[in-house]
Symmetry: C2
Subunit: 271 residues, 2 copies
Amino acid sequence: MSGERPIGVFDSGIGGLTVVQEIRRLMPGESIIYVGDTARAPYGGKDAETLISHGREIIKFLISKDVKAVVMACGTSSSTSYEILQKEFNITIIDTIRPAVSELVRMAQLQKIKPVFTATSATIKSGLFARLFSEKCKDVELVSRACPLFAPMVEAGLSTDNPLLQFAADNYLSDLRGKVDTLVLGCTHYPLVQGALVRTLGEITFINPATATAIATKDAITPSRDKKADIVYYTSGDTESFSELARIVLKDYSLTCSKQSRITSFIAGLK
Amino acid sequence: MSGERPIGVFDSGIGGLTVVQEIRRLMPGESIIYVGDTARAPYGGKDAETLISHGREIIKFLISKDVKAVVMACGTSSSTSYEILQKEFNITIIDTIRPAVSELVRMAQLQKIKPVFTATSATIKSGLFARLFSEKCKDVELVSRACPLFAPMVEAGLSTDNPLLQFAADNYLSDLRGKVDTLVLGCTHYPLVQGALVRTLGEITFINPATATAIATKDAITPSRDKKADIVYYTSGDTESFSELARIVLKDYSLTCSKQSRITSFIAGLK
């Protein structure tokens, strides 16, 4: 019965839509409530205490909407806030970092790889991905690389063909060309800059945590028996710009922004 | 008597420190309470409603600290929120856009200039600077140009010599080389990227609103009779990173971060 309740998904902005896409592909009958915290985006340069506070507020909001589980579709929240917030709330929370670690571990066990983990400054600073990976694969050398401007650039509407984004990609990663063969997109915005990454690094294998996160979500929830499901989008910022950017991101996936609405409880909290 | 109360100054992050520097230079006896809203920075891509809400909360905080006036040391707040918030609060608010307009008007009246106004997307979108300027100088052609990534880059710690910042400057402005001779730094972060702007545009005249804003502040307040004054810094985000970045920005001006403290009322408001 509880299966008909929606899944809550949140991110600092539109990056988490890459996870929404995978959830829809895997579980088309699941309704979703999405929160993009654009009034406080980006998250990637912020400290753990701030991010935990933001995450706490969003999870409370999602629980008030009667979600059956919460997907933390943000690499930065996942690496700084997941453990603390999972302890605080009596609801299943799925993060994006742990599924990504599992996928890289699985790949490393099948073949010899030279991986690089890309993420925001806060995620790299947390050291979580590298620590969890090395616990399982201590002999595989993992490069970690912060790419702090990718998410702000995506939120600013830059597409993967934008020269500024390309320059940033070259700046962050060109020294690794030929030295790595597998790249973990450790921030949910990064699948949206994949074109630039290919131009910088050549043909490499990408690990997009969205897929593994959607699978982890499927394993964690009681499935809906509905055939058809809705997505409702909320933003703490401007509804119109969020909607416009979200439509661009989602257009390849045939998802439409069926409804957007400002999170009034956020605004009230800030007044 | 009320002259001994501090001046409140706020910005999305560290950009407003360029205004603090000018206030200190002009009025060394004035104490200052500075708020950098780094937990919600950058402001430049956000909508007016969100920015008004953020500004309202900060002004309430500053009033609770008994400031005698509030300097909105943020071009984005100044262009989207000043009018509404000045009406709401019974305290003098000084913005950065109107003083910058006055300075460009004065310059245009003295000589023939070819000006460009650079600012965040939200400021350009508001159209305020261009409108106020053209009311006074309808015959002077003004180019307006959004440079949305400068402030996020400065907040990410990029210095004016950083190649990524240079690339952004070239990307935004190189087509104007030789076509403009006067550039208005319409965001308080932009004085911190001035080196890159010179390399893109050649030797031009810069209008830094910080000076005119400090003069407008001096005109608006009852002066302190102290000889020595303190600055107290607050940030809604991480105290340590704010302090580190602020020290770099302030080092040329012999100002020290005498004290930093997280704005606890913000955090409480978000819980």
